[in-house]
């Protein structure tokens, strides 16, 4: 079970709305961290994903384990929220 979801985005990233749309279609809510508005949180996104890219989706499960999905990658996103 999913406890919460955070998505790191930017304003110009075209794949970010795709992830948001996918999660909404599955009836899941999420917190969004827009790195254009909060550039100081870039380091956090990098530490979680190991990549300088967005979207980064962090799925925290009920047992507090985390799954991090880099990019709009349905093959990883779908099982992460299952």
């Amino acid at each position: 079970m999913v406890k919460n979801i955070t998505i790191f985005t930017t304003k110009t990233c075209a794949y970010c709305p795709m992830v948001k749309k996918f999660l909404s279609a599955k009836g899941l809510s999420y917190d969004e961290v827009n790195l254009d508005d909060e550039p100081h949180r870039q380091q956090e996104a990098l530490a979680l994903s190991g990549a300088l890219t967005v979207p980064v989706t962090v799925v925290t499960k009920q047992d507090d384990t985390q799954e991090v999905v880099v990019g709009y990658n349905l093959a990883k996103l779908a099982p992460a929220i299952a």
Binding site: T10, T12, C13, A14, Y15, M18, L46, L52, T53
Partner: protein, 322 residues
């Protein structure tokens, strides 16, 4: 292999949902032709990840690529086009029905439109794989924000490289444009670029190859290249490298059933039909395409009208002008 059922069968399946396929879908669905689009990434294709489109007719002040992509998608969906997020891995001509293999199962269609466009080419140099997405990037609108007040190098000299380089200056402290031979971008883009050069925001390095992307402690620090005139080594300090050196066709699923040109783009007749009856091709993946959104849209519309004729069993006039 899944059997054909009513659920997995459609009159028309389009592979890709870029500008070419979305435009074709507007036409087919308006005529009540049951149409499914299979898209592995983002509806709108490369247009969706382009910052600003200034040459698409009807937008006197230009339009953001993502906005144009969203509008095309909404318009196709308004008439009933369905977009399925999946990747096509193979295409089989089984006569009346074509079988389309995807990572989520098989689909069948009477007519297939291939509109898969192309993907960014890689440099193939040392350091490129190692620093992928951690200093080496292929999408400015996706990853540019990580280079606020940092040095950026852009590799390439065509329209995309120049356009994306200018976009990236909104983040960079300084940008180096590394061009292997000479600039191939349109004159108007070169004029715009000159303004950035005059303001000291961009330095253009002509006749410089990119030979290696060098880093330290997991971070990119430098591009190493060669001055093609003198043969001397050139080093350019940078925090990130964006590569725009052209595109290679997304044709991996196609096998060898289609006639292609020397770069792998799929050939068509004047009706945009391939050598396989019932399989059409439009947009950047078509041999002879002019790699523009306006032409992809035009080809999508043409393909849709020719598909309708094909479905109606009308003989297709291969001499017809398109």
């Amino acid at each position: 292999m899944a059997e054909r059922t009513e659920e997995n069968s459609h009159q028309v399946i389009m592979i890709g949902a870029g500008p070419a396929a979305l435009s074709a879908a507007i036409y087919t669905t308006r005529e009540d032709i049951d149409t499914l689009l299979l898209e592995k990434a983002i509806p709108g294709g490369l247009a969706a990840v382009t910052d600003q489109v200034d040459n698409y007719p009807g937008f006197p002040d230009g339009v953001a690529g993502l906005e144009l992509a969203n509008n095309l998608q909404q318009q196709a969906e308004r008439f009933g086009a369905a977009i399925e997020p999946t990747e096509v891995t193979a295409l089989h001509d089984e006569g009346e029905w074509k079988r389309i293999e995807t990572i989520t199962g098989d689909y069948y269609a009477k007519v297939v439109l291939i509109a898969t466009g192309s993907a960014y080419k890689k440099l193939g140099v040392a350091g490129e794989e190692e620093y992928y997405a951690r200093g080496v990037h292929y999408c400015a609108t996706c990853d540019g924000a990580f280079y606020r007040d940092k040095r950026i190098a852009v590799v390439g000299g065509g329209n995309s490289a120049v356009q994306e380089a200018m976009f990236l200056t909104r983040f960079s402290s300084h940008l180096d444009l590394i061009v292997r031979s000479k600039l191939r971008a349109s004159e108007i883009l070169q004029k715009e670029l000159q303004k950035f050069v005059d303001e000291g925001k961009i330095t253009v390095h002509l006749g410089v190859t990119t030979d290696e992307i060098v880093g330290q402690e997991g971070k990119v620090t430098m591009v190493k290249g060669t001055d093609t005139e003198t043969g001397n080594e050139v080093t350019i300090d940078t925090d990130g490298v964006f590569v725009f050196i052209g595109l290679s066709p997304n044709n991996q699923f196609a096998g060898d059933q289609f006639q292609t040109d020397e770069v792998g783009l799929i050939k068509s007749d004047a009706n945009l039909m391939t050598n396989v009856p019932g399989i059409f091709v439009a947009g950047d993946i078509r041999s002879g395409a002019t790699m523009q959104i306006a032409s992809a849209v035009g080809e999508g519309a043409t393909a849709a009208l020719k598909i309708r004729e094909y479905l109606e069993g009308h003989p297709i006039d291969v001499q017809a002008e398109v």
